[in-house]
């Protein structure tokens, strides 16, 4: 029994922006952050311990536990944890060899899909990421007392199609509708409001715990273009910790002998690194030895690592065909950019002071939140993204024929015609790949499908048009059509990294089992949202069609709205549901009259046709 909403074309209001909020999420390798922007004010969400920076680790005991609590469970030996799962996003079993040894847990091949082994369970990276996202979503819901259903999630600029799809699937599992995936550097630029800054080229230097990324962005008239990206997926603050731990061990002459001791030493090293960002010297106690560490000692250890990042910056500029002098500004992202030597080296390289007044751990989430608000409420700026890696299909001899080239702006649709190589061939295998290399083996396999029903013709006669469409999130759909018969097939590129649709659905069901703890909170929130939506819709309808309402009827409806408001303010779900029912019943005759009126006017005029004729004229202009 819901109220009919009627809108003129082009005047559809935004979908209840006030009932459910859209969030921005930085789903990071070592930690994740969630933020909300309302009325252009960004709030970084804190958990019940007051932390906004949530370690991207999940402990799998009875139910998944995320963040600092997971780390604690691990320390107490209660559960094993999964960390750095972002490195595995979009990887398939074929990649196990490439990543083996880098991950502190076992990986298995489950009929082509890559899974992580943890205790008795095996999980896909997507499922683990979904657990992190679910935790962040609950944090936000608790903080704002509203349903959180929509999100902008950031991904590294170099993420390929499979990794982006995996990220989107993880969001879906966590009950989040992804408004847009945006590149991390672009999010950082948004956080600094660079869309209002002078036009020009900006460099985003992102040194996190485990990865380093450099991106060159061009900004013009509120528009962001990614020009080039570079970096090192295995270089970050953790490497500095390791180097320092080794140094302390050497200085003290006491090497760690157990895993627990190594753990402890690494924690000491991290502490030293952080305090030396503020002080010149510090003193540490390690296995009964006392070691003095000066900032100069640490800097000598860090310099080779930082030099590598600076070289990557120079390379990224070269890729974009630019010189250092073309760069208007530099943005620092990632906790490791708090290190004075990093700041100094970056500023020397680019010859100007860097932007670093926003917390470098939160800046990406802040930008994502701004974009989430922009996509639900509207904004002046526009993000124009590009395809990070070329997309193509396999042709005879294992060659990769590119259909969409890297750095093509998205959304984009491109076609290429192919033909059969044998007489009477009635089917064609379409193997979709991504990468810059010429040979399919060196590219990343995204999907396989077969176009059947090609009419048996001599070789080279059949004409098969393959169309690639990449949407604004950078996600690919491929279709193939035989032009003589019109036989057509379409796939959304997805399966290669291992998740089938039915598998996602099973996982969605499974995820319900773990939601028990929050189910009551959730049901209350849902009821409140539903109730507020009804009030909102009804009041909008009354405003628009007041002539269809008798004064007595209006008085009754107003009274019921007031009762419902009381119920909402008391947080009583049963009462809210009952009042919703009553209000819907009493306003039903009004809804009927509005529907009759709408049908009447639809029969008279044709706004839509008029409107579309206009669009066509515009397209011809």
């Amino acid at each position: 029994m819901s109220l009919l909403q009627i809108h003129e074309p082009g005047q559809t209001p935004l979908p209840h922006a006030e009932d459910c909020v859209a969030v921005g999420i930085d789903l990071g390798t070592t930690h994740s952050v969630i933020a909300i922007s309302r009325n252009q004010q960004v709030e970084v969400i804190k958990d019940e311990h007051g932390h906004s920076i949530i370690p991207s680790v999940v402990a799998y005991g009875n139910a998944p536990v995320v963040g600092a609590d997971a780390k604690q469970q691990q320390a107490q030996g209660e559960a094993a944890i999964i960390s750095s799962v972002k490195r595995l996003m979009g990887r398939s079993a074929a990649d196990i060899h490439a990543v083996a040894g880098q991950m502190p847990f076992e990986l298995v091949d489950d009929s082509g899909a890559l899974r992580v082994v943890i205790g008795k369970r095996t999980l896909t990276p997507t499922e683990v990421s979904a657990d992190i996202l679910r935790h962040l979503k609950r944090m936000a819901e608790r903080a704002v007392g509203k349903d959180v259903k929509q999100a902008v999630i950031t991904v590294p600029a170099y993420f390929d199609d499979a990794a982006r799809t995996a990220t989107k699937d993880a969001a879906r599992l966590a009950g989040l509708d992804v408004l847009r995936l945006i590149n991390e550097p672009t999010a950082a630029a948004l956080a600094y409001g660079l869309e209002h800054a002078p036009e020009g080229v900006y460099a985003i230097y992102d040194l996190g715990g485990g990865t380093f990324d450099i991106s060159i962005l061009k900004l013009e008239k509120g528009l962001f273009q990614v020009l080039s990206t570079g970096g090192n997926a295995a270089l970050g603050g953790d490497d500095i910790d390791h180097a320092l731990a080794e140094w302390i061990s050497r200085q003290s002459g006491a090497a760690p002998e157990t895993a627990a001791q190594l753990h402890q030493l690494l924690a000491i090293a991290r502490g030293v690194k952080e305090s030396l960002s503020e002080q010149q010297t510090t003193q540490v106690a390690w296995l009964g030895h006392s070691v003095a560490v000066a900032r100069g000692d640490l800097e000598a250890l860090m310099l080779p690592l930082i030099t590598k990042t600076i070289q990557a910056c120079e390379l990224a500029l070269q890729d974009a065909g630019l010189a250092v002098s073309d760069v208007q500004g530099v943005v620092l992202v990632g906790g490791s950019t708090r290190i004075p030597l990093v700041q100094q080296q970056v500023e020397t390289c680019f010859g100007k002071p860097a932007l670093r007044n926003i917390n470098p751990d939160e800046v990406v989430a802040v930008g994502a939140a701004i974009q989430a608000e922009a996509l639900t409420v509207g904004a002046d700026h526009l993000l124009l993204d590009v395809v990070p890696l070329s997309l193509g299909i396999e042709t005879m001899g294992g060659l990769a024929e590119k259909v969409i080239y890297r750095n093509t702006p998205i959304p984009v649709s491109a076609s290429q015609e192919f033909t059969t190589y044998q007489d009477g061939q009635t089917a064609m295998k379409i193997h979709v790949v991504q990468g810059e290399r010429e040979l399919v083996d060196q590219c990343r396999s995204l999907a396989n499908f077969t176009l059947k029903g090609i009419p048996p013709l001599p070789a080279n006669i059949a004409r098969i048009r393959v169309t690639f469409t990449v949407d604004a999130d950078g996600l690919l759909t491929v279709s193939a059509q035989e032009l003589h018969t019109g036989t057509q097939q379409q796939v959304e590129v997805k399966p290669s990294y291992g998740l089938e649709i039915h598998e996602i659905e099973t996982m969605l069901r499974d995820s319900m089992d773990f939601a028990q703890q929050d189910i009551f909170v959730r049901m209350l929130i849902e009821s409140k949202v539903e109730a507020e939506r009804l009030i909102h819709d009804l009041q909008a309808a009354i405003k628009r069609d007041s002539t269809l309402l008798e004064p007595e009827e209006k008085r009754q409806i107003d009274a019921r709205i007031q009762s419902l408001r009381n119920a909402i303010s008391c947080d009583d779900r049963d009462w809210i549901d009952m009042e919703v029912q009553r209000l819907a019943e009493i306003s039903n005759p009004f809804a009927q009259r509005r529907m009759d009126k709408a049908i009447g006017s639809a029969l008279q005029g044709s706004h839509i046709d008029d409107y579309e004729a206009e669009t066509v004229r515009e397209a011809h202009a």
């Binding site: 809108h7 074309p9 082009g10 559809t12 209001p13 935004l14 979908p15 847009r180 013009e220 008239k221 509120g222 528009l223 922009a374 996509l375 639900t376 409420v377 509207g378 526009l382 993000l383 124009l384 093509t408 702006p409 998205i410 959304p411 984009v412 649709s413 491109a414 015609e417 469409t469 949407d471 604004a472 044709s606 839509i608 046709d609 409107y611 579309e612 669009t615 066509v616 397209a619 011809h620 202009a621």
Partner: protein, 188 residues
């Protein structure tokens, strides 16, 4: 009713696909200023990009996204001199892009020139030799650009067509030369 209308929009988009200048609302010209192109492109995207369709009805959104894709394609084609030349010729019904039927045939002299170029590429033994061939190709291409501008200004489409084909072949040879150069460098 809605569905039919959406299809009509799509079909009409296809018919204008052959005119990338029109997609971006700019006068067809070979000598196109980059900033003019960029401005026109951004103006269309400000209206039509998927991110700008928040809360709009489905039919409108769909039409806008198609137009956003067209604009991306048009921008991509028109920002290169060869793309512009091919587009200018297509407007005259002359096809020299190497795809689809009705392609104009290159003349004998052009074919001979390209065969010789390919030979000198395959005969080059080391990196400096390839670099030399590569530089020659780049100089030829620069000259093509100037001749094309002249031909279009004079409305001499036959001449423009031959030069555009030469331009395209040279571009392919340049790619080949660069790939070989890279190979030889990597082998060092």
């Amino acid at each position: 009713m809605k569905k039919a209308a959406a299809a009509a929009v799509k079909a009409s988009t296809y018919s204008v696909m052959s005119n990338y200048f029109a997609v971006l609302g700019i006068e067809p010209t070979y000598e196109l200023d980059e900033s003019v192109l960029q401005r026109a492109y951004i103006a269309v995207q400000q209206q039509c990009h998927p991110d700008r369709q928040v809360g709009k009805p489905e039919s409108e959104r769909h039409a806008a996204i198609l137009r956003s894709m067209d604009a991306n394609e048009a921008y991509d084609v028109l920002k290169s001199p060869l793309g512009r030349a091919q587009q200018m010729l297509a407007l005259q019904g002359i096809w020299v892009n190497g795809e689809g039927p009705d392609q104009k045939k290159p003349d004998q002299a052009l074919l001979m020139e390209m065969m010789e170029l390919r030979e000198s590429l395959s005969e080059a033994k080391d990196e400096p030799e390839i670099a030399k061939v590569r530089q020659e190709i780049q100089e030829h291409m620069k000259a093509c650009d100037a001749v094309l501008a002249d031909a279009f200004r004079a409305g001499d489409y036959e001449r423009a067509a031959q030069i555009a084909m030469r331009f395209r072949y040279l571009g392919k040879s340049l790619e080949e030369a660069m790939a070989r150069q890279y190979q030889l460098k990597a082998a060092l």
